[in-house]
Amino acid sequence: MTALEIATCGPLTTIQDCGRIGLSRMGLPAAGAMDQRALRIANALVGNPAGEAVIELAFAGLVGRAIGGDIEMAVAGALADITCETRKEVTHQSFVLRDGETLRIGPLITGAFAVVAIAGGIAVPPMLGSRSLDLRAGIGGLDGRALRPGDRLPLNGSRVPFLSRWSAAVPLDRDAPIRIVLGPQDDAFTERGLQTLIDRPYVVSNAVSRMAYRLDGPPIERRPGVEILSDGTLPGSIQVPPDGQPIVLMADRQTIGGYPKIGTVISADLGRLAQRRPGEEVRFAMVSAHEAREIAAQVKLSEVEIQFGKYPAKSARAEQPMFDAARIGNVADAVVDASDSATWEIPQRPLWMLTSGTR
């Protein structure tokens, strides 16, 4: 069986997929990749289903060797230096690691999380419907734990030969504000408290984990004497403890929380927040629940387009690409105007991008 033998990796190198859905009521977080868009892009590049399990890297890189066969893979999310033996590769483009060759992914340069998708997927058993590692419950992943040097990660192997490289269109929206919907307990805060959250910049603190990101900044003023009963949380819930410093719950969240939740990061932006590193700035922007829904619909559409190769990403393997544009080489060199945060690095904008307005 083909395997990836891990030589070195960071302490939080885990297997993640689209998450363990439907068990939050039993106290089990969904887990799953911190940047779900990166997960879908990386999987599309190697022809996997969008939610297939990948290796998620947090801050640190990875060194590994292909054993027992060639491995077709793609890295997405945070940028990093990638080499296969001596060949330079880039993020957001598929490549092949030949049998016996060594893959080197350097420390993540921009962003906090990168995913490594492997054609055919990772051969670990799903638990409760997902291969995602849930660190606290000790389920999923490889034997219910994070990866460590010496592990031989079993791979399913791809049933179709590697035909060509595929590149993905990746939005340049790293610095754009993180959009939130106020509530459900915005009434626990003063008008000034709400203004503080929207108007003032916050900085990602050192207390970041797959469970939550704690932000530093001006304290958010609560109404005196307001306490809430514990209630259900979502990834993206912004809890404010008595010290006024917001805590955004992430993929491995606690499912019940007792601090008032001033707002909720919309699903489209949670992965973007996950990519902010300690010390980096976060600004929040308020959208209505209705707008949030429209954004979610746009994201869904873009996922379909990633899957069907309208971006220069791979759709069905062994098929001719739909456009020549789907075979562009190095996307990292094809950077377009970064001043427009809605710009995607693609030669032809799909129609919906032109009608969706800028944001």
Partner: protein, 275 residues
Amino acid sequence: MSAISSASTAMAKTSVTPGQLPLSTGVHDERWRAPQPFALPAIKAVGDCALLVEFGKHLTADVGARVLQLDDALTRERIPGVIEAIVAYATLLVIFDPVAIRYEHLRERLSELVSAPGRRHRSTRRFRVPVAYGDAFGLDIEDAAARLGMTQSDLISAHAGAEYTIAMFGFLPGFAYLTGLPSHIALPRRATPRARIFSGSIAIGGAQTAIGSIEGPSGWNVIGRTPLRTFDAARFPASIFEPGDEIRFEAIPVDCFDDLAARANAGEVLAERIA
């Protein structure tokens, strides 16, 4: 029958003003409120993927029963686009796919469901859960009994003599928050949390009691331990209990614990279903 389920039965017959249970989180044990008239819950957007149905700001028997009724109705309705619902003391967080169902539409459906409250379709399940009280299994029992001004055995019989309802799970997998703790054994949390309590710890925190699931830090007063594994990913279903289930604790001799724990680890479900 617990107070919550009797309230739910009563509600189905008449619109009585329900009595209140002495239940709340540890931070506001003292914040009791006068009974409120039957009111429609607030339904609030939570980001783009959830709606929070809030039946009250404070936990009463009536509120708990209505949360479970809506959860039950939602399970029965199988509304396309609804992914799951997180039951909590006074709220139901309904998680959905915003592309599969518009939140305005779901809000309407939820309003319909809450304004026509029926009986819970599913009958309440009752379980007996074995607990080794005191000794090495309940490190705080001596201190707890002293603070309550009672003997350890009185504390044990009061705790094991009551009927509880699972109000919610969280914040950890299988960690069950129970309502129904007799008010005379309610006890504020420990001033200094313990760095580590065992899985299966039975503890009192304020006016609530809980069945712990995973080993971890806790400020609750641990009085015993069950060999039961409330959550086991290798078992189906992984969680023995559901929100709304009723629980009775049964004191077992402490020297039986290891034997029962070995059976639980082998996959045996030690909770005895009694109804």
